[in-house]
Symmetry: C2
Subunit: 412 residues, 2 copies
């Protein structure tokens, strides 16, 4: 008997599209929450403007509200004189106004303070304004009834500002996907427990809980299962009961320790959809469906599992949230040295991007084995080497997907 690894490795794009076609993931339901608690949540429906914004014509500058025609032909050498009023603005009158203030009745424009002189009860205007000049018209920002924020928007501070300005105080947001996270392996001990020789502290649940939190999902901790079918099966069943998504790490490979895919296929149909992906790291990743829910079976190696999460679990969680796409920031950088790759595999090369003389460079982080977690902390992004390349050349320009900041790239 010859164990040749996986019989066939599936291409990433094919794996993802097969999986999504079978799973048919739908956006989760919604909940109605206060906008004060909505930072980072995703809108479940379009938010329409219930009123015009601005709600009235208002000054866009500090200065004086005027009738535009009274300023025509004004210049520094031949200023127009306008009488100050505190009420409605009549012919040849002006009224002090500040940015954001409603335009008083009679006025149709504003003159900037800088182009005026004040003397007694009058001002001199040194520049003409056109009707509507320096005025934000009612509804100019958002018109009543129009969509101000689209469904599927992740609410950032500036979105919340707009929502609040519209007088909206509660918003419908998509429920947080619940993600049950299981670590498997006889060698694992709980965080905070002393690892005996040959034991390892389980770090994967903490990593994936955090990654779920960053995405706006709610992690559920399923604990550690020993390498046996019963224990793993019971935990996965518990996860399916409580959560929308199950993620496991460890116990996936090829051969006799391929426990998690085996258990998943025992639990029910369709079970494992794809197992063995043409990627590095992350080759033993498997994608499964049970009870209509996705089960991501990731490598036990933290780094391989993080890449597996990035490539498969992240886009799926975004779909459940109703977010079309939320790509990581990318930038173009030159590789500082040649890197070899394997034809037919998509390689996720961890790199450390730095800036020198206004140009970005990507230094491949030297690794040995996908389990070396410090490669993730030494790196701040990854470069994808496609399946049809045997490597990338020194000096070649590559797209870096950033997951952390770039050292020394301070700019204002």
């Amino acid at each position: 008997m010859r164990l040749k690894g996986f019989e066939k490795l599936t291409n990433i794009d094919e794996a993802l599209s097969t999986f999504v076609k079978k799973l048919k993931p739908e956006r989760l339901g919604f909940e109605r929450i206060s906008i004060q608690a909505a930072l980072g949540r995703v809108t479940a429906e379009d938010i329409q403007a219930k009123n015009d914004l601005p709600p009235f014509d208002r000054s866009a500058v500090d200065g004086y509200a005027v009738r535009a025609r009274d300023t025509f032909e004004a210049s520094q050498f031949s200023p127009k004189f306008l009488k100050l009023t505190e009420n409605e603005v009549h012919e040849n009158e002006a009224r002090e106004i500040w940015t954001g203030n409603p335009l008083p009745k009679g006025a149709d424009a504003a003159v900037m303070l800088e182009y005026t002189k004040k003397a007694g009860g009058k001002i001199e205007v040194e520049i003409p304004v056109t009707p509507g000049g320096n005025v934000s018209k009612r509804g100019e920002d958002v018109q009543k009834g129009k969509v101000a924020i689209k469904a599927g928007t992740r609410l950032k501070p500036h979105h919340l500002g707009l929502v609040a300005a519209l007088g909206t105080t509660y918003v419908k947001v998509v429920k947080k996907p619940k993600v049950a996270i299981l670590s498997t392996g006889n060698e694992l001990v709980e965080l905070g427990h002393k690892a005996a020789p040959n034991q390892i502290v389980d770090t994967n649940r903490l990593i994936f809980s955090s990654m779920c939190q960053e995405l706006g999902a709610e992690p559920l901790n399923l604990g550690i299962a020993k390498d046996n079918l019963e224990e793993i099966g019971a935990k996965i069943r518990e996860g399916l009961e409580k959560a929308d998504v199950v993620i496991t790490t460890g116990g996936t490979s090829v051969g006799y320790l391929d426990l998690v895919p085996t258990v998943v296929n025992q639990i029910g149909a369709p079970g494992v959809i794809v197992h063995g992906i043409a990627m590095r790291p992350g080759m033993p990743t498997a994608l499964a469906i049970l009870q209509g829910k996705p089960v991501f079976i990731l490598s036990g190696n933290p780094v391989a599992a993080m890449i597996g999460f990035e490539v498969f679990a992240r886009p799926l969680l975004l779909k459940l949230l109703g977010v079309d796409s939320e790509p990581r920031s990318v930038l173009e950088a030159r590789l500082t040295r040649r890197v070899a790759s394997a034809l037919g595999r998509r390689v996720f090369l961890r790199v450390s991007v730095f800036e020198r003389d206004g140009k970005f460079f990507a230094e491949p982080v030297r690794i040995k084995g996908s389990g070396v977690i410090s490669t993730m902390t030494k790196a701040n992004g990854y470069v994808i080497i496609p399946e049809n390349r045997e490597g990338l050349e020194e000096g070649e320009s590559a797209i870096v997907h950033l997951f952390d900041k770039i050292e020394g790239a301070q700019r204002v």
Copy 2:
């Protein structure tokens, strides 16, 4: 009397450096928290490895642990035969091993499953390995006593993974800066209250609370102060008592409504350090110091205030957190049209970046007045037009600072 706006506008860099020199901001104190609660927090000290990582020599592959010399000269046509064992590996023996497992006694390398055949109690090895081949050596990832995570690191999932792998369960993180946020203006009403004609819902406290949260600071809500010296003064004093930083919006301009800078100077010395900045939007921004604490006096316009926060409050909050720099993601994009600017002002041009045929373009968002908050939701980044430029040309390449995702730029 001629009101020429500000007598003198201060350059942004000069304003910031004068302010920082007088303030001498220091990193805040620390607190010790569980790593399970540490996502997004900033380390207050270097985290040293208490143990080697990996804690033992372990296999980087699935396959067999062997003595390297027993595989020398192995090939597909002339394989070496090794006897399977479940104990210590002696001469011409091999033991099944999985990624991450400790290397058994006697073995000094691992052979990948793919290059072996199993038959009965033996395996055929088809490829030679060198001593140490496919093995992650003890301490290879992080050596005991070495710094694994530097002070001033914002903890992301991969950092937490490394910290956990080192057996560290509690970390010292910098305390969250407390930021007291005040809105001023007679026209403002609380969120959730009906705005009468000529009134405006206050959005600024929500925006800046959210921006503080995103940075890892703790916002304190000082409410709304009417446009009078007593009320503003009482609120600012309350803020100074409770918080590390005070942010106000509104009531800063030039002339008789310049209330906040006036109050600040009444409260104490040194008071206002800079008032009137050569920037657009955000010209009326003022920077002050009271009781050794920074007071950021921002425009009442949400957009101008957001830019003021970005340029002045954000770097200062990062200093209090002990983070050297945390620049926004940048990318290079071509401007889709010409934009005019004013010499001597640094202009923050809001742009909408999109991707077409693998190239990035930046479409300037059309605006009228800095108060138009939908320009922030239509934009996903800003371009800085420097003081010495009268504008940027169509097709010109510019650095965009991103604050939101790029539509349609899905990549894996």
